[in-house]
Amino acid sequence: MEIVLAILTGLLFAAGLYLMLHRGIVKLIIGIMMLSYATNLFIFLIARITRGVPAIINQAKEVLTPPFADPIPQALILTAIVIGFGIQAFVIVLIRKVYKVTGTSDMEKLNSTETID
């Protein structure tokens, strides 16, 4: 399973980056989102995955006994997802603005800041 998921993660990374390399401004944001899935999966998988046992202490017990899913990456992912959400929402609105202001969605045409004049 890990191999499959690892390959999938790799593919997600690749696809995210690939989309970010496109000229279209919408693909940029889709790429960013995909990259964030990939990152989350990566963190999730870095600790060995455990099927089906969440890190929730049973009503009858006082401590968590193995096997259980490593809660730390999960907590990290939660934070990362939320931060990612904030940034993605901002970027979505930003590209909408960029498009509205510049009238182009071609990243290669957005280079007025780097001319020498």
Partner: protein
């Protein structure tokens, strides 16, 4: 489930895909329910409930979009 995916891939129109997506969500909800039964863990069921509440919104927003586009 695969049939849903085929519909999704083939399209051909946007509403087709959206409907497929909605159906897909329903299927996910169902599978979570089954999963939760196999592992005898209630926590997973909550996820299904949440998903069922919000799945509605997804479809709604696409409908909204299609609505607006037609205007």
């Amino acid at each position: 489930m695969l049939l849903v995916i085929i519909r999704f891939l083939k399209g051909p129109t946007l509403p087709d895909r959206v409907t497929a997506f909605d159906l897909f969500t329903t299927l996910v909800i169902a599978s979570i329910a089954i999963f939760s039964l196999t592992w005898e863990n209630v926590n997973f069921l909550d996820v299904a409930v949440v998903l069922s509440l919000i799945a509605f919104l997804g479809a709604l927003s696409f409908a909204y979009y299609i609505f607006k586009r037609k205007d």
